[in-house]
């Protein structure tokens, strides 16, 4: 009995190491924060368009069908890298709205001319206030919004093939039903 008691510190240490080590092994990124807006309606915003005469982007536009909202900027390298993948999604019929975050409209225009434009609509968030409302802390960020205008998922970082195939596309399909 006493010998069993002596094992307690060892078991406690093993338990602690396992509990602390598990998130590392699982590959969880400690930099990634869960969005507090998850399962909440998108914050109210109304942004001007990139091109004069075109419709801008407002929170009201996000209701109706499941869409992606992609926060991007021409000064952000991963944004550049994910454009082809986003274009692929757009060709598959996914509606993607762009939020040009703290970017010079002229630079955004050039960025889209060179790389292509996957966005059905673009809202220009020149001072980043709408980004703050969303809790954006690093571009690119991609939000999945359902037909009721509720945020269902947030991905921080580049939309890679893996992210698109494993998370975004299945979730959009599920929401479309």
């Amino acid at each position: 009995m006493r010998r069993l008691f002596a094992l307690i510190p060892l078991l406690a240490a093993v338990g602690l190491i396992a509990a602390l080590g598990w998130p590392l092994i699982e590959g969880r990124n400690p930099q990634e924060l869960p969005s507090v807006l998850l399962d909440k309606p998108v914050p109210a915003f109304d942004l001007p368009a990139l091109e004069p005469g075109e419709p801008g982007l407002a929170s009201g536009d996000l209701a109706g069908k499941p869409v992606l909202v992609n926060v991007f900027a021409s000064w952000c390298a991963p944004c550049r890298a994910e454009i082809p993948r986003l274009q692929g999604l757009a060709e598959e019929g996914v509606t993607i709205y762009g939020l040009a975050y703290k970017d010079d409209p002229e630079a955004t225009r050039r960025f889209l001319e060179v790389l292509g434009n996957p966005y059905a609509r673009i809202g220009v968030d020149r001072d980043g206030r709408t980004g703050l409302e969303f809790g954006v802390y690093g571009v690119p960020e991609t939000y999945v919004i359902d037909a009721a205008g509720v945020i269902r998922h947030r991905h921080v970082g580049e939309v890679t093939d893996r992210v698109a195939d494993a998370t975004l596309v299945p979730l959009l399909k599920e929401l479309a039903q």
Binding site: L33, P43, L132
Partner: protein
């Protein structure tokens, strides 16, 4: 030339000391962010020191040079100017970025272990150490030999002596 330099030394050192005293530690807060109302600005500084810069994660927005930290500093000042209380400003930030933006985590169910775990471990350790010491004290004082035991001991010692004498 040299003599002139030597004569100027006290003045030079005084200037150096004055420069060191005047130089304030560098802050991330830019002059254009500072509010006109000193009381409001002081509150903004105190609040900023409690808010985590979510990009650089272990710095407060008051320390951080990150673009987002600047945006948040301006936001804090804007809310204060709009008449928000300190708690309202923090709630506003938490509603957008989650409780993680607070450098001091709030005491909720999920942070119970974080707040009280170390104290609980220390308490358990103290109990264990106290237990060990109590047990040691209980066994420390040996009971004196009884008469019977003494007689047996003496007999054994005598035996040993005679045996030792024979063996050599």
């Amino acid at each position: 030339m040299i003599r002139a330099t030597i004569r100027a030394l006290p003045l030079l050192s005084a200037l150096l000391v004055a420069a060191l005293l005047v130089a304030a530690p560098a802050h991330a807060v830019q002059p254009d962010e500072v509010l006109d109302d000193p009381a409001l600005e002081a509150r903004a500084r105190t609040l900023s020191a409690e808010v985590r810069c979510v990009v650089c994660q272990n710095q407060s927005i008051d320390d951080s040079n990150a673009e987002l930290a600047r945006d948040l500093r301006l936001l804090v000042r804007e809310r204060l100017q709009a008449g928000d209380s300190d708690d309202e400003v923090l709630d506003y930030l938490v509603a957008r970025f989650g409780p993680f933006v607070l450098l001091e985590p709030p005491k909720t169910d999920s942070t119970l272990l974080l707040w009280y775990g170390p104290a609980a471990l220390l308490g358990l350790g103290a109990i264990a150490v106290a237990g060990v010491f109590l047990r040691r004290r209980r066994t420390a004082a040996p009971t004196p030999l009884s008469d019977e035991e003494r007689r047996r001991l003496e007999a054994l010692l005598e035996d040993d002596e005679s045996a030792g004498g024979r063996s050599t």
